[in-house]
Symmetry: C2
Subunit: 218 residues, 2 copies
């Protein structure tokens, strides 16, 4: 499955600013990207990183295409290329879009997602907060829209082209690492470089008043 992995190399994970400085955010974002690429490949995905700028300092083991246009435009064009290759929607191969900050993504969860839509259909996994963390498109006319609460918009976009839409129910694909409140999930459930990076940086899970928080030792 051809899999686009959009990556914002300019100022990744800016919402982690309260707990990580700029260099740390860049390193952590790179660790997450590499974890995602590993999971994509282990799920028989064929990843292409769509980066907003050159990945100067980030080494990844996947082809990279620089595209500084808005996410919906860049992804839409990349989907079209895949779809024009396919032609007929009856045999449309899947093209997937997997966000680069899914630090909990496993190959099992991605494999199930990739296999979900039949030809002519669309599947998507919601992210916390209404976004679309994984999108799997097998319809030539589907038009992605990553603004705002994109999960609902993608459901509507599928309806607009009469493509059956499947919601993918996965906790591991729902957690995108956006703000500090997402870090305990990585520490609790992650097993790759991202979790390791946090531990090396001194983070640990603390439970106060029944809620888990990621705390950093000084």
């Amino acid at each position: 499955v051809r899999t686009l992995v959009p990556f914002d190399a300019r100022d990744p994970n800016s919402r982690l600013g309260p707990v990580l400085d700029r260099d740390e955010r860049r390193d952590f974002a790179a660790a997450m990207l590499r974890d995602v690429l590993d999971a994509v490949r282990a799920a028989d995905g064929d990843p292409l990183v769509l980066s907003t700028t050159d990945l100067e300092t980030v080494q990844v083991d996947a082809p990279v295409r620089v595209d500084d246009r808005p996410l919906s435009t860049a992804v839409g064009d990349a989907l079209e290329v895949g779809e024009s290759r396919a032609g007929d929607s009856d045999v449309a191969p899947a093209t997937a879009v997997v966000m680069s900050d899914l630090a909990l993504a496993t190959s099992n969860a991605l494999r199930a997602a990739f296999a979900r839509p039949a030809p002519g259909e669309v599947a998507a996994a919601p992210g916390l907060g209404g976004g679309t963390n994984v999108l799997v498109v097998r319809h030539p006319a589907f038009d992605p829209d990553y603004h705002g609460t994109s999960f609902a918009d993608h459901r509507a976009a599928a309806r607009a082209v009469d493509a059956p839409f499947h919601a993918i129910d996965s906790f591991r694909l729902a957690v995108d690492v956006d703000g500090p409140s997402d870090l305990p999930e990585v520490l609790l459930h992650g097993s790759g470089r991202s979790a390791e990076w946090l531990v090396d940086a001194g983070f640990d899970v603390d439970v106060t008043d029944g809620r888990a928080r990621a705390v950093r030792e000084d």
Copy 2:
């Protein structure tokens, strides 16, 4: 599947205090409980509400047992009753524990969870923040522990009795409605009384800076 649904009738959803007053929290908690009971029954579950006090004002269509002991004790005893009925772990029927604030729980997600453990095994769905939102036990000696990051503790408790442990990967079972940041998930993905209650109370999803929030009109 015999399904325990623990419910704190004393001061439910206290963390929603910043956005809902006490009476509203009680009403909303009741709406979520009823949604969960519906989903349990639709998944062929046989629910028993374990309530900390009498459910004076909350009408539910399920048997209620009042047990004011700590959650782990109450659930542990209720599991033991089911297990002593079963006797041999080779044929142990499942007993499930489903939290009452899983406003996104669907019958499909619960059905898959209930079916997950084989005799002698344990399955659990993590909640956001490290808790255990759904626990399905088919082992006579398993000892539940709902303190702190209970998902990891339940994995360890299964290991302690040599019971294979299955993590259930479900977004719909991972979202327990704890604080205000969980409300947009109910508005975005809920379809039952809980979502309806929030809409009737004037809540809507607002997207600012790419993040969804539940806002209430004055």
